[in-house]
């Protein structure tokens, strides 16, 4: 099994690399969305600083949902997914391998771009560290929970539209905790508990979400 896990991870990274221009779309989307806020609300630095944690996190949510659609779609359409199901390897580990690969090419860029977004939104510099940490812990949670929604909407033609409706309610706790952590820094309050919650959430999702995604995939293939 470990060999298969690594083979799949390598394959997905190779496939992403072969289509590397497409990887830029969620990144571009993230930048566009964040830049819309000053345009729509006004560039007042104090206001931007107040809403910065929420704006950056909401943009991360949107960008994740956009990028998630490709998580299983290609494998579903060309029959590779069926082969995974048939292979006898635990589907949960297969799902996990794919999510890891997906996060590396779609989630990690969000984390790396966050300093730029922080500057745009006038996020206080002392909050940046925690911001990056919340994204580092939180974006994998978004990918994991999102994979369940992707699995369920896989056989739909316009699955992407329904996907947002399905996963956004499930994202609410992550959004609340992550933004609370960042805001706690600028308010001078302790933020450790929030980060602890995010970590606990990540561990829970890593162990539980793949089961739900695997079940969803089996339903979609039938």
């Amino acid at each position: 099994m470990p060999a298969a896990f690594l083979a799949l991870l390598r394959r997905d990274l190779l496939l992403a690399f072969r289509r590397r221009t497409e990887l830029l779309f969620p990144v571009a989307f993230l930048l566009v969305v964040v830049s819309l806020f000053p345009l729509g609300i006004g560039p007042g630095p104090a206001l931007l600083a107040r809403i910065a944690p929420g704006v950056i996190w909401i943009a991360a949510l949107l960008a994740t949902v956009i990028s998630l659609d490709g998580l299983f779609r290609s494998d579903f359409e060309d029959g590779t997914l069926e082969q995974f199901i048939l292979s006898g390897h635990p589907l949960t580990l297969i799902v996990l391998a794919k999510i890891v690969a997906h996060w590396l090419v779609a989630g990690l860029p969000l984390v790396l771009l966050s300093p730029l977004l922080a500057i745009w939104m006038n996020l206080p510099m002392e909050s940046l560290g925690v911001m990056i940490l919340t994204l580092l812990l939180g974006t994998p949670i978004l990918s994991l929970i999102g994979s369940i929604g992707v699995g369920l909407t896989l056989s739909l033609k316009r699955g992407g539209q329904l996907l947002s409706l399905l996963v956004f309610p499930l994202y609410v706790p992550v959004l609340i905790v992550a933004t609370a952590a960042v805001m706690a820094v600028s308010d001078g309050l302790p933020y450790g508990a929030f980060l602890g919650l995010l970590t606990a959430g990540l561990v829970t999702c890593v162990t539980l979400a793949p089961f739900a995604s695997a079940a969803a995939l089996k339903i979609s293939v039938s």
Binding site: I148, L152, T153, S155, L156, R158, G159, L162, L165, L166, F168, P169, L170, V172, P173, I176, V177, A180, L208, A212, A215, A216, I219, S220, S222
Partner: protein, 260 residues
């Protein structure tokens, strides 16, 4: 693939029989009118007590009476989601079609209760706080719950094959159920984080004379759910089994009754 050995336990046998569409149809047909009747009686009684007999609140005056609809509706919206997810779980694991049907038919009823809770909550907020909407913990939770319901309904309607759609929507309902306490607590906590003190529409204590109508309405709404769910499910069963022989028998019996 193993075949299940039916244990002779009467409860298991009952559940097993419920899985048979004709048996389900026949069995529920016997008491459906009673469910509707009890609902009607309880509602009239509860509303009479709540709207006319219960004393006005010392803080809010008469406007608090909307609580007799708002609170039971909110309770129902959550209870139905839990039931929907449980029925979905049974449907998913044991592939029982009547469970699939009941789970999927529960979704619109639950969504309706959520809408009622939101609308009445909004109307209640107007005389109490002066605005039609306030992001308190309960209303915000109800809103997220509405989105969860819409997701289940949307997913079910989006797929073509009904049994596959029901399984997918059931899985979604189960995932939503696991998340529901987490969402609930995080919203409650978010509310205290941002507003300092927790605001609640219902206030701290409820006088017994105000409590009775509330409980009666709560029970009445449970009967409504049961009656509505079973009625819808019977119709769905007939629609799905249009080509089977048992529906023909039902139609013949019904037209026979009409003629005689």
């Amino acid at each position: 693939m193993k075949t299940d050995k039916a244990r002779k336990n009467p409860l298991v046998m009952f559940i097993h029989k419920l899985g048979s569409p004709p048996w389900f149809y026949g069995f529920t047909g016997k008491f459906i009118p009673w469910l509707w009747a009890v609902f009607a009686v309880l509602t009239i009684w509860g509303l009479y007590l709540g709207l006319f007999k219960a004393p006005p609140d010392y803080l809010q005056g008469e406007s608090y009476r909307i609580m007799y609809i708002h609170v039971p509706a909110a309770w129902m919206s959550m209870m139905i989601y839990v039931l929907m997810a449980i029925m979905g779980f049974i449907a998913l694991i044991w592939r029982i079609r009547t469970m699939e049907i009941m789970a999927m038919n529960s979704a619109p009823i639950g969504a309706a209760f959520t809408l009622i809770a939101l609308a009445t909550g909004s109307l209640w907020g107007r005389p109490t706080w002066g605005t039609y909407w306030v992001w308190d913990a309960r209303l915000t939770s109800e809103l997220v719950l509405l989105f969860l319901y819409l997701g289940v309904i949307g997913l079910y309607k989006a797929m073509d094959e009904p049994r596959k759609a029901a399984r997918a929507a059931s899985l979604l309902a189960m995932v939503g159920l696991v998340n529901l306490p987490i969402i609930h607590f995080s919203v409650k906590w978010w509310n205290t984080l941002h507003q300092g003190s927790s605001i609640s529409l219902t206030g701290s204590k409820i006088d017994p004379s105000m409590l009775w109508p509330l409980l009666i309405m709560a029970v009445a709404m449970k009967f409504y759910y049961a009656a509505n769910l079973i009625t819808r499910s019977r119709v769905t069963l007939l629609e799905q089994d249009l080509r089977k022989s048992w529906t023909r028998t039902v139609a013949e019996d019904a037209t026979g009754e009409l003629k005689s």
